[in-house]
Symmetry: C2
Subunit: 223 residues, 2 copies
DNA sequence: TAGATTGTTAATCGATTAACAATC
DNA sequence: TAGATTGTTAATCGATTAACAATC
């Protein structure tokens, strides 16, 4: 029942939102939900939700809707949450440290193995139980392990070099928090960027207009 | 020469990228660029770039291309960079502090006025020169000033309440870093969310597939 | 059974790409 | 002038929405 030959990025971007909303519904004790109710609460049409899910299989029951628990599980599976992904952090400045201390990697199916930096003030120490090694040890650390993702929070001048080293060492993805657009040639390595600036500038544009056009991500229903 | 009646969110999301790429070109000393050269370096078609710019006016010269400096300035203007936007931060935990200390608000045309928290350990102090007030003082602080944006990095349970208070106090936008989807009824208030989880889960999906489909944001040209 | 809601195909809409006259 | 490249309209493509038979 797999048809996900060509899943568009638009659909991929919605999957985590489905997962998040279903988690909230689950926490709220909701057992069952229809595509139209879920759509209303997420600001999507029922059609779109059914069409999105149709890419991956059949998850509902006619005349009934979807079981929140099992749909959440299925989408988690699609997202790869149970694949035992691993991640290392490059750069333990303010942002890197904040992410290490706050972000729930395990809730998203990732295990945070280690952090790397060059400052003698942190190398050898631990941050929230995560060991910090010198960046020179990156290759030897990765050589012995399956590390899927490198999280980049290094200063901009070091970003491309560290990205190259991560790719050479065999990571499958780079989670890029630097404000530099990375150049990665290999087709089998994915770069996912979180550009704070782009986000704030988009907001800047929208509030400069008077906000006639609602943004893509919001307008949660009242329910 | 204004035609930006209905600018799609797809276009709005690309504007900051144009701005960032043009800034890099400017820094690299590039004076002039054609839509096809810019497109190649950004992974877009020349048509798309010209079509995007067409929403806002005429910025190039036939037979020549675009002057990097002035195109960057024009796009900055469209994004509202020179409008003197202001922002306050709610929540000075790890993430809030990291953003206050690292993020270049002024590069994006924003002035960071103050931060708010409830912990006696930070209230009354300064973070990177930014004064931290008690959250109780939010309304009185905002009453006297034009504050355009509230940046939310509070714990999830406090997120919706603080969002409501920001909206009631008259902000035009909320930059939401909490992992909660905010409910904001007013059509003239924009919520822009940075969901780390959604980003990581999308990356998780992509590396779980073998990466046949490149993500929207990357694949910078070789140049 | 009647009612509800899915899975899935078809229709519509919007965004991207192509084409080309205008013009630097 | 000839060549290059834009601004802008038209064509194509893909994503969203609508419709409805299947079925719980």
């Amino acid at each position: 029942m797999k048809r996900n030959a060509k899943v568009s990025t638009a659909v991929i971007r919605r999957l985590p939102r489905y997962y998040r909303h279903l988690s909230e519904l689950q926490r709220a004790g909701v057992v069952r939900i229809s595509s139209s109710a879920l759509g209303k609460s997420m600001g999507l049409t029922a059609s779109q939700i059914r069409q999105d899910l149709f890419c991956f299989g059949e998850f509902g029951q006619q005349g009934y809707g979807y079981k929140v628990d099992s749909l959440k599980e299925e989408i988690g599976e699609i997202l790869g949450i149970h694949r035992g992904h691993t991640v290392v952090v490059l750069g333990t400045g303010n942002l890197g440290r904040a992410i290490i201390q706050n972000f729930k990697f395990s809730s998203n199916g990732f295990q945070l193995l280690a952090a790397f930096d060059v400052s003698p003030r942190v190398v050898g120490a631990q941050i929230a139980g995560v060991p910090v090694y010198h960046a020179d040890e990156l290759e030897s650390f990765l050589a012995g392990r399956k590390v899927d993702v490198g999280l980049l929070t290094v200063p901009i001048p070091a970003a491309q070099e560290m990205a190259d080293r991560l790719v050479a060492a065999g990571v499958r993805g780079i989670w890029n928090f630097t404000n530099r657009e990375l150049s990665v040639q290999r087709q089998d390595v994915v770069v996912e960027s979180v550009h704070f600036s782009d986000s704030l500038l988009a907001l800047s544009y929208m509030i400069s207009q008077g906000g006639e056009d609602e943004p893509s991500d919001i307008q949660e229903g009242t329910e």
